[in-house]
Structures are given as C-alpha cells and as structure tokens.
C-alpha cells in the first residue's frame, strides 16, 4: 500500500505540469460572456500573441488584481487599431507590441483597463465540457 501510494504521489507533479502548461478545465463565472459552464482550456504557448487569434475566448489574470481571473474575447491583436467605447478616454487606440484588446460579448474589459499584455493570458477556451476593429 505504501509503495503504491508513493508511486501515485510521484505522478502528481506530472499532472500538475500538464494542468499548468497544456490543458486544464476551468469554471466560468459571471454574465459578461456564449457562456453562462466549465470549459476546456488550452494553455500551451498562449502567452505568445502569435498563437492567439481574434475572437478567441481567453482566461487571463486581471490586470487590476492578479488574484482574479477574467474571461473575455480577444478583439484585437498587437498593432491593430481599435475603436474604443466609454469609459476609455480616447476614441481610438493603437495596440502596442505584445498587447491585446479584450471585451466581453455582453463587462469590465479593455475599455476600462486598457490593452493587456499577452503575458497575463492563462488559457484559451476550446470547448464546453452535458456540449463563436478599425484597422487590422
């Protein structure tokens, strides 16, 4: 029994690694999104903006509070020009290198906290686990 327990424990880091870097299942709360649900999250390489596309649903760390996770849709990729809406202080914004624009389908989003660094992205929603710009 002891031996089997130890073997089981030795696989825990493997599971954690997969959960952290490849796939994960996450619960989506709130009304800002299509959604509301538990979604399958793809995590590998999602911090790299070239692996994100417009209209992907992503989970990311809230820029205003790193302990919160937001779920929004990617509306703009680096260097896009975005028509903003209230309360963003300027009518248009050019997204800087490494930054994306996120909005809820229905929402506290980039119009409140501005473009976000793609380094804050946690994962991309692939499917529900009972089953889809001024200048580009």
């Amino acid at each position: 029994f002891l031996r089997n327990t130890l073997i089981a424990i030795s696989w825990v880091p493997v599971l954690l690694t997969i959960n952290n870097n490849v796939v994960h299942i996450a619960q989506v709360k709130g009304t800002s999104m299509t959604l509301n649900d538990w979604v399958l999250l793809w995590k590998f390489g999602v911090k790299n903006p070239s692996n994100l596309s417009r209209d992907d649903i992503i989970l990311f760390k809230a820029p205003t509070n790193p302990r919160k996770v937001y779920c929004k849709r990617v509306k703009g990729l680096p260097f896009d020009t975005i028509d903003t809406k209230f309360p963003y202080p300027k009518p248009q914004v050019n997204l800087p290198r490494g930054h994306i624009w996120v909005e809820g389908d229905n929402s506290i989003d980039s119009n409140t906290f501005g473009p976000i660094s793609s380094g804050l992205v946690i994962g991309k929603a692939i499917t529900i686990v009972p089953w889809k710009i001024s200048k580009r």
Partner: protein, 63 residues
C-alpha cells in the same frame, strides 16, 4: 490609461504617520562601468488602517 499629475497635485495630500525614506539607484556610464548614485526620497505615510502610501519628494537638491 493613466493621467500625468503636476508636483502640486501629486503632493497635495501630504499637506497618519509619515517618515522620510530613501532608495538609492544609479546612473552608470561605460568609460568599465562607472556608476554614480542617484538618491530618491519618499515620504512613507502609514494611515490608521495600516495602509501605506509613498510620495516621492526627490528634488533638485537631493543629489
């Protein structure tokens, strides 16, 4: 989006226990590197609810 404030606007709240703190940074030039210290001064203010706010008071005479 953040707004730029003037010194008067930024330091107006100063006018809660405050004490002066310093943080030394450097300016290095390649001549080997020669570094000269650049001191920055802050009023470190602790409100009754234990929250701390720093107000930078570095000025012309600090360095």
């Amino acid at each position: 989006p953040t707004t730029i404030r003037t010194r008067d606007q930024a330091l107006a709240p100063l006018a809660t226990n405050c004490r002066l703190k310093e943080l030394v940074q450097w300016e290095c030039q390649f001549k080997e590197y020669v570094c000269s210290p650049f001191k920055r001064l802050f009023e470190h203010c602790i409100a009754p609810d234990k929250s701390a706010t720093n107000y930078e008071v570095t000025d012309t005479y600090t360095n």
